[in-house]
C-alpha cells in the first residue's frame, strides 16, 4: 500500500491526492481578534480555489503539506522546454512579440516551481565544477578543502539570488503598494528562469582565459537582466514615479551584483 508508506502526505481522509485539486493556500493571520478590514494577510502563494472534496490543510502547517506545492509542479516536459527556450530571449529576434512575452504568453498565470528549482541546482553544480576545474588548472596540486567549500559557497550564493531576491522584492512591493500579478511565486519563476543563460556561460568558463570568463558572464548577465526588465518594467511603471525608480534601481543593482559576484568569487 503506497499510502501507508507516505508519511509525508498528511492524507487523513484516505483520498487520493490528485494533482488537479487546488487546496486553499492563504497564510492567514493566526490572531482571532484581527480586524477583517485590515490589509490582506501575507500571501506568499496566491489564493487558490476551494475544493469541496478535499479538506484544506490547516493554515498553520501548510508549508509542510505536499499538496500545497503540487499546483506549482503541474507541468509537462514540453511546457518546461518552451519556457526554457523563451527565457533565453531568442524570441526577441522576432519583433512582433511584446516585451513581456515571457510573463504574459509563456507563463500565463501558471507559474511553476519545478523550472526555477532545478535550474538553480544545475547552476550550483555547474559553477562548482567549473570553478574547481579552473582552480585545478591554475594551481599545481589539488586543494580538496576548497572543492567542497566552493560547492557550498556556490550553493548559498546562488540560492540567495534565486530565492532571496524574489522574496525581498515581493516584500518591498507589498510595502510600496500592491502591483497586481506580481506575487512571490511569479517573481520566483521569473528569477529562476533568468538564470538559464548563466549555465552555458559557466560551462564556457572552464576555458582558462580571463577574457572568455568576463565576456561569457557579461553576455549571460545581459540576457538575464533583459529578461527580468522586459517583463517587469510595464508593471513597475504603473506605480508612482519615485517608487518605480527605486524599484528599477533595486532590480538593476541586484543583477549587477550578481554579475560581479559570479566572476570574482568563482573565477578569479
Amino acid at each position: 500500500m503506497n499510502d501507508e508508506d507516505d508519511l509525508l502526505l498528511l492524507n487523513d481522509t484516505g483520498e487520493d491526492s490528485s494533482p488537479t485539486l487546488l487546496p486553499p493556500i492563504s497564510f492567514s493571520d493566526p490572531s482571532p481578534m484581527s480586524n477583517p478590514q485590515q490589509q490582506q494577510p501575507l500571501n506568499l502563494l496566491p489564493q487558490q480555489q476551494q475544493s469541496s472534496n478535499l479538506a484544506p490543510p490547516s493554515s498553520m502547517c501548510w508549508c509542510f503539506d505536499l499538496r500545497s506545492y503540487q499546483p506549482y509542479f503541474n507541468v509537462n516536459t514540453s511546457t518546461i522546454k518552451t519556457r526554457l527556450i523563451s527565457s533565453t530571449l531568442i524570441h526577441k529576434l522576432s519583433s512582433t512579440r511584446s516585451p513581456s512575452y515571457f510573463l504574459t504568453d509563456i507563463i500565463k498565470d501558471q507559474p511553476d516551481a519545478y523550472g526555477p528549482f532545478w535550474i538553480t541546482m544545475t547552476l550550483v553544480f555547474v559553477v562548482g565544477v567549473s570553478s574547481n576545474i579552473n582552480k585545478w588548472i591554475y594551481s599545481s596540486e589539488e586543494d580538496f578543502e576548497s572543492d567542497i567549500e566552493s560547492l557550498l559557497n556556490a550553493m548559498w550564493i546562488i540560492y540567495s539570488f534565486s530565492f532571496g531576491i524574489p522574496l525581498i522584492s515581493f516584500l518591498a512591493l507589498r510595502c510600496l503598494g500592491e502591483i497586481p500579478g506580481l506575487n512571490f511565486i511569479t517573481l520566483f519563476t521569473l528569477y529562476g528562469y533568468s538564470l538559464t543563460t548563466y549555465i552555458p556561460a559557466c560551462l564556457l568558463c572552464i576555458i582558462p582565459s580571463q577574457t572568455v570568463h568576463w565576456l561569457s558572464l557579461l553576455i549571460a548577465s545581459l540576457f538575464s537582466t533583459g529578461l527580468i526588465f522586459r517583463n517587469l518594467v510595464e508593471k513597475i511603471m504603473e506605480a508612482e514615479q519615485t517608487k518605480s525608480r527605486a524599484l528599477l534601481g533595486w532590480f538593476a543593482g541586484c543583477q549587477l551584483i550578481m554579475f560581479f559576484v559570479m566572476k570574482l568569487v568563482f573565477y578569479s
Binding site: 503506497n2 508508506d5 507516505d6 508519511l7 509525508l8 502526505l9 490528485s18 494533482p19 505536499l66 506545492y69 503540487q70 509542479f73 503541474n74 507541468v75 509537462n76 516536459t77 514540453s78 518546461i80 519545478y114 532545478w118 541546482m121 544545475t122 553544480f125 562548482g128 565544477v129 574547481n132 589539488e142 580538496f144 578543502e145 572543492d147 567542497i148
Partner: protein
Amino acid sequence: MSMDGQVRATHPIQFPPPFNPLPHPPQIDTQTPTTLDESIPETILRDLHSVSSKLRVVLLPSNFHQTSYEDNQTLKILKDWDLWGPLLICLGLSIVLSIDAGQNGALVFSAVFMLIWLGAGIVTLNAQLLGGSISFFQSVCVLGYCVFPLFLSAVILLIIHTFFESIILDLIVVVVAFVWSTRASVVFIGQFISEERKTLAVYPVFFFYVFLSWMILI
C-alpha cells in the same frame, strides 16, 4: 477530598479487581511465523538475504530488458522496501571517500552522507509533486541501492590510487558506474510517472548521480 487531605473514592473500589475471563480466549495465530524467538545469526542472515536479493534485482542487467510493468517478481521484491541496504552502501561510500580524502576526511564523510540521503529525498519529493504514484520510502530505497555501482567504482579507484594515478582510468571507471546506476534507477522511477512528465522526473535522478560521481572523482 476529606479534611486530612486524603482522597477517598466516591464509590468503593474492589481490591483486587475481579477477574473477568474473556468470553472467547484470544486465538494465538500459529500460521504467521514469529521472528521473536529465532536466533541472532538467523535474523542477521535473513536481513542480509533480503538486502542481497534487492541488490540483485535492482542491478543485474536482466532487469534492463524489461519493457513492461508486468514483472511481478521484481516489483514484489522491491515493494518490500528496507533502508538497511541504502544505509550500508551510503556508509561504505562515505568511508571510502573519506579515506581517499586524507585530512579532510570528516568533512567529506558528512558531506557525502548528507548528500545521498537529502538527494534521494529531494528526488523522491520531486517525483511525488509531479503527480507520480510513487511511495516515498520505496523510492528512497531503490535510489539508495542504485548507488551501489558508484560505491564499487569508489573502491576500485581507492585500490588503483595506491599504485598509480591516471585521470583517464578514473573517468572511465566512474562513467561506467554512473551509467549503470542511472539506467537502473531510471527504469524504476519511469514506471510511476506519466509519459509527458517522464523527463522531468528522470532529470533529477540523473543529476543526483552526476553529483555523486563528481564527488567520487574529486
